[in-house]
């Protein structure tokens, strides 16, 4: 993308702009998701208002103020902690989130790197956070943090498979792993011959969509799969020794990953940046807005489930992944393959 609005700007500037956008997008996305869903939607589902005073208008400044508060806190590290690993662990978790956004397209030409194996890369890179979780648990020099981290790692690894298998159906139907290719396949497709809406894969891959959402919920360690983090019944899981700025990293990582997964789901199942009939330059302008609306809808579903359900016990959670979700995902791939070959 060395042409910005028909102006040739060279690869250096391109790289700089892309870096700034990706780096700024994650905290901004985390902020928007956190405010809208955690502070406001959750509050209204609980018959209350949430923050109203900070910033004057319905408390929009609350999270920004929280971030500033975290930044000025003392940096505490346990005495027996492994210093370097302890410091790097939150960074690893957040870096994996940043890396997902390298392939998510917001327009036909607005993508940091249009990889041909986009889907493969995105899912591979999202599982890097498991390493960060294990590093955090190990380096905390705390029996219970380690246990929480092991439990979290087991859960995250178990739910990688349904996440992956759910997406395979989409790849089979689109015929490509390139995310922009998937979006254009949905935009150009037709439902039983009528192409007014394109062919968003949620209609045919509804099983895959449901599986993806459930697996994403587990990847984000959100209720009903938040046993690793809500060990705050007993101790606080793998994040227990983290305070201040480092905890802020974990928090941004959690909501940033939610943002990323919602963006992926919107791209794979809802058509991403595409609106039917909108191509070229207009699509570049409207694309980010359309993607934003779609990903907020997916995030609504994710957080709606989070605030309604109790949590599953760790063994029930594992049983659900291995005994139910994976067979269903495999069946979905089989049916999609059959349809693709014979229709």
């Amino acid at each position: 993308m060395t042409h910005l609005l028909a102006v040739d700007i060279g690869w250096g500037w391109t790289l700089a702009i892309k870096t700034v956008v990706v780096l700024g997008l994650i905290p901004l996305g985390a902020l928007i998701l956190g405010y809208t869903f955690l502070l406001k939607m959750m509050s209204h589902m609980q018959s209350r208002l949430g923050p109203m005073d900070p910033g004057g208008f319905h408390g929009w400044f609350q999270l920004v103020g929280d971030g500033m508060k975290f930044l000025q806190k003392e940096d505490i590290m346990p005495e027996q902690a492994d210093r370097r690993v302890f410091a790097l662990a939150p960074a690893v978790v957040v870096i994996s989130t940043f890396l997902i956004f390298v392939v998510v397209p917001t327009g036909p030409r607005l993508v940091v790197k249009d990889l041909d194996v986009g889907v493969f890369y995105a899912l591979a890179v999202s599982s890097l956070s498991i390493i960060g979780v294990l590093m955090a648990g190990w380096a905390s020099a705390n029996k219970f943090a380690l246990l929480g981290a092991l439990r979290a790692a087991a859960q995250l690894i178990a739910y990688e498979l349904p996440l992956l298998l759910a997406v395979v159906g989409v790849v089979v139907q689109a015929g490509t792993m390139n995310l922009n290719g998937i979006v254009t396949a949905q935009q150009g497709g037709a439902i039983f011959g009528w192409d007014g809406l394109g062919n968003p894969y949620i209609l045919t891959q509804f099983v895959g969509f449901a599986l993806f959402l459930v697996a994403a919920q587990a990847e984000l360690t959100q209720t009903p799969f938040d046993m690793p983090v809500a060990e705050s019944e007993l101790v606080s899981g793998y994040m227990v020794e983290y305070t201040g700025f480092r905890f802020l990293f974990f928090f941004i990582g959690e909501f940033g990953t939610a943002f990323a997964f919602a963006a992926l789901a919107a791209t794979l199942f809802l058509g991403g940046w595409a609106l039917p009939g909108v191509h070229g330059g207009t699509a570049d302008l409207l694309g980010p807005l359309v993607l934003f609306v779609k990903l907020m809808a997916v995030a609504f579903l994710i957080f709606w489930v989070r605030f309604t359900y109790p949590r599953l016990r760790e063994d029930q959670l594992q049983a659900m992944a291995w005994k139910y979700l994976i067979p269903i995902a495999l069946a979905n791939i089989l049916v999609t393959g059959l349809f693709k070959v014979w229709l």
Binding site: H44, M45, Q46, S47, L49, W304, T308, Y309
Partner: protein, 176 residues
Amino acid sequence: MTAVDPSAGDGGKKKSARRLPGQGLVEGLGVTLRTMFEGAVTVQYPHEKEEPPTRARGVIALKEENCTVCMLCARSCPDWCIYIEGHKEARPPRRAGGRERSVSVLDRFDIDFALCMYCGICVEVCPFDALFWSPEFEYSEGSIAKLLHDKRKLGDWMEVVPESEPLEVGAEIKAK
């Protein structure tokens, strides 16, 4: 271990015995979604305020002219948070040739609201109706010492003592 609830029924909602798998999950989502649109019940204090009921035990007010320094309230307080001091003064006789009367005058009447349990025994036990309840509750202070309300402040609280309200149907005693 059966997973079926007793057949006597729920006593409330009508529930069919057979439920679809996942029906409970969907109903739960419905409840939260409906609550989201029903509006919040928050009263944004201090911008908005709620009125407590008339009988709410907020603060105690003293009507000094009724007090005869009998000390019944101070004696019956479970926390001993009422401090009373008084002295006797002589008054002229009512009619010419009569005995001189002596009247108790209140010197000090403090209630320490940091100790007060808000039980109301003092108000109830006073034979001369010198103490009254008021639903006023916004008297927090920055220092605990200021929670000791003296005679003058307790007299000021008389302004917020509400009129006694009528009683429910069937009550025999008259409201005081």
